[in-house]
């Protein structure tokens, strides 16, 4: 962690570049519908997981209700599409907007409750919404959900690239955010909220902001998913769905943002391997979750990063230090 200055910059650049190439050119390898849909789902889930990561991993707000942002946005996107005929390229950003609103609402209890107490309440949020969905089937479609939503595109390739765009843009923005001054403030709240307050940080404002941002990206993911499946159902409000986002983020490394991408792809592979034993899917995911949180909270990506001495998630303000350091080094090398 404090070895960040030692380098690894070039390794990182190579990795990022290689991944970008792979993502963009993947359809050249295969345009198989099934394979592409897995990747599309992985991309969406990466955004979903990253949205939780910025809230919990970076800002320290361990909300268990991430599914709420995703689900409400999915339903709203679906409803706007179904009842008002709005096209996906409108409903998805609007889904993001609804995510922001829900983010604010979920953020409110955090103002009055400390850590653990907030966690308890956040668990119930999605459950309650699931109940509301079932109780008012006229608008929400009840148990069966909303069917017949417009697809993203009739061409799977377009959908694929759409998901890649969504994922790259979201992850890029979130990583930039996490490494920015704002991100540093978020991290200070995570480390010690009281100390942050004493240091002049309006923790209330910034916590709200983190909830809003988290809700926005989760909302985008939700909207996209709704139109991908052309269907929204109460499954989104299951506790398990929130948990999947958390495991994904943790698998990659909580707080790294980029870990959510790796985690999501890993989870997709895992799900595919387990496809034939669908029966065991939840069990294995839960066991995975248990192992990760109990024994490897750092996550896989972070372990790799430390091994290769790559820095993930460092504050961009530190770049100046490198310049100073290099300046010192070159000076001390002069005769």
């Amino acid at each position: 962690m404090s070895q960040y200055l030692k380098g690894g910059g070039s390794v990182k650049r190579v990795l990022v570049f290689a991944s970008l190439i792979l993502l963009t050119l993947f359809p050249a390898i295969t345009t198989d519908y099934y394979v592409l849909s897995i990747l599309i789902s992985a991309n969406i889930f990466a955004v979903f997981a990253a949205s939780w990561d910025i809230l919990a991993g970076v800002t320290g707000q361990f909300s268990f209700g991430q599914a709420l942002f995703f689900g409400v946005a999915a339903y709203m996107s679906g409803a706007l599409n179904l009842y008002l005929g709005l096209p996906p390229w409108l409903t998805i950003p609007l889904g993001g907007a609804f995510g922001v609103v829900v983010g604010f609402l979920v953020g409110l209890p955090s103002l009055r409750l400390k850590g653990r107490y907030f966690t308890i309440t956040s668990v119930i949020f999605p459950t309650i919404l699931g109940i509301i969905i079932v109780e008012y089937p006229e608008i929400t479609g009840g148990e069966t959900g909303l069917y017949g939503l417009s697809p993203i595109s009739s061409d799977i390739l377009v959908t694929y690239y759409g998901s890649v765009l969504l994922m790259l843009a979201s992850i890029y923005l979130l990583v930039r955010l996490a490494n920015s001054n704002l991100g540093l403030v978020f991290k200070s709240i995570r480390e010690d909220e009281d100390a942050a307050e004493a240091t002049g940080i309006n923790t209330t404002k910034y916590k709200f902001l983190s909830f809003a941002i988290s809700g926005f990206f989760a909302g985008l993911a939700g909207g996209f998913q709704a139109h991908l499946l052309m269907f929204v159902g109460s499954y989104v409000f299951n506790v398990f769905y929130s948990l999947q986002a958390m495991v994904t983020a943790a698998l990659g490394g909580i707080g790294t943002i980029i870990g959510s991408v790796g985690g999501s792809y890993l989870m997709s592979i895992l799900n595919e391997i387990l496809r034939d034993v669908l029966y065991f899917r939840v069990l294995i995911t839960a066991i995975l979750m248990l192992i990760i949180f109990r024994y490897f909270p750092m996550g896989i990506m972070r372990k790799i990063a430390i091994r290769f001495k790559i820095s993930i998630g460092s504050w961009r303000g530190l770049e100046e230090l490198k310049r100073i350091k290099d300046g010192h080094n070159s000076r001390s090398q002069r005769p």
């Binding site: 200055l5 540093l184 942050a196 004493a198 240091t199 002049g200």
Partner: protein, 251 residues
């Protein structure tokens, strides 16, 4: 006296125990005040009341004439009064520079930056509390610092808010023979630069050398106030600190 901080009739009870009892205090700009008293006298609670971490039951606090009594901690920090904690509260997983940078990213920090980069300013404060040199301290996580540096990091962070009033809660706590004089000189320098400082401390000797005026608390009440010499001779104070003979308080 140009009063910079005024406390009027401050009261706070916790579940039947009176932590702060009808406290009154006036502090002039540029003074260095020591707040002493036996354990449990209410000193840290007093700091919490001043800085907005605890709400008083009654009474008021005025900073530069402005009432700050029920304001949130970050507001008070941004108005020019900052503090350290009895048990250090660093941002553990952030780097030392990042810890200080947070203060510079606050409202007040932004105002006082004057175009300099956040990092440059952060290094400046780290220099002032003598955390750098050695340069390697910059790259350490806050949790990796030894106790002496840790204590000064707390101060650097509070300092980075460019406060007019600085509250130090037991800055000498746990410091050894080598670190104590460093802390002493850091605080002395800050005072000479014009900062108004209130120090809660148990290490009487250090306080005796630094403080112009001492305020003594016991059971939430102010039981004495005066120069270190006066306090050392004060019967009530010596009784509060069991076993100390008059005149031996600073031995």
């Amino acid at each position: 006296m140009d009063t910079i901080l005024e406390v009027k009739d401050l009261n706070k009870r916790f579940d039947g125990i009176t932590a702060v009892d009808n406290f009154n205090l006036q502090i002039g700009r540029g003074e260095l005040i020591g707040l002493i008293g036996p354990n449990g006298a209410g000193k840290t609670t007093f700091f919490n009341l001043l800085t907005g971490f605890t709400k008083p039951d009654s009474g008021n606090v005025f900073l530069k004439g402005k009432k700050i009594t029920k304001l949130k901690p970050h507001k008070i920090a941004n108005l020019g009064m900052s503090r350290t904690f009895q048990i250090v509260k660093p941002f553990k997983r952030l780097l030392v520079v990042e810890n200080v940078a947070i203060a510079i990213l606050s409202e007040r920090g932004k105002k006082k930056r004057n175009g300099a980069s956040v990092l440059t300013k952060a290094l400046e404060y780290l220099r002032r509390v003598e955390i750098i040199p050695p340069a390697e301290n910059m790259f350490k996580l806050a949790s990796e610092l030894s106790h002496g540096y840790s204590k000064r990091l707390d101060i650097a962070r509070a300092l980075a808010l460019e406060p007019e009033v600085l509250l130090l809660d037991e800055p000498f706590g746990g410091l050894g023979l080598k670190e104590t004089p460093i802390m002493h000189s850091v605080i002395k320098k800050l005072h000479e630069e014009g900062l108004t400082i209130i120090i809660i401390e148990h290490k009487m000797r250090e306080l005796g050398k630094l403080a112009q005026r001492l305020v003594v608390m016991n059971f939430g009440e102010k039981i004495a106030e005066g120069t270190p010499k006066d306090i050392a001779m004060n019967q009530k104070v010596c009784e509060a600190y069991l076993g100390k003979e008059v005149g031996n308080l600073f031995a």
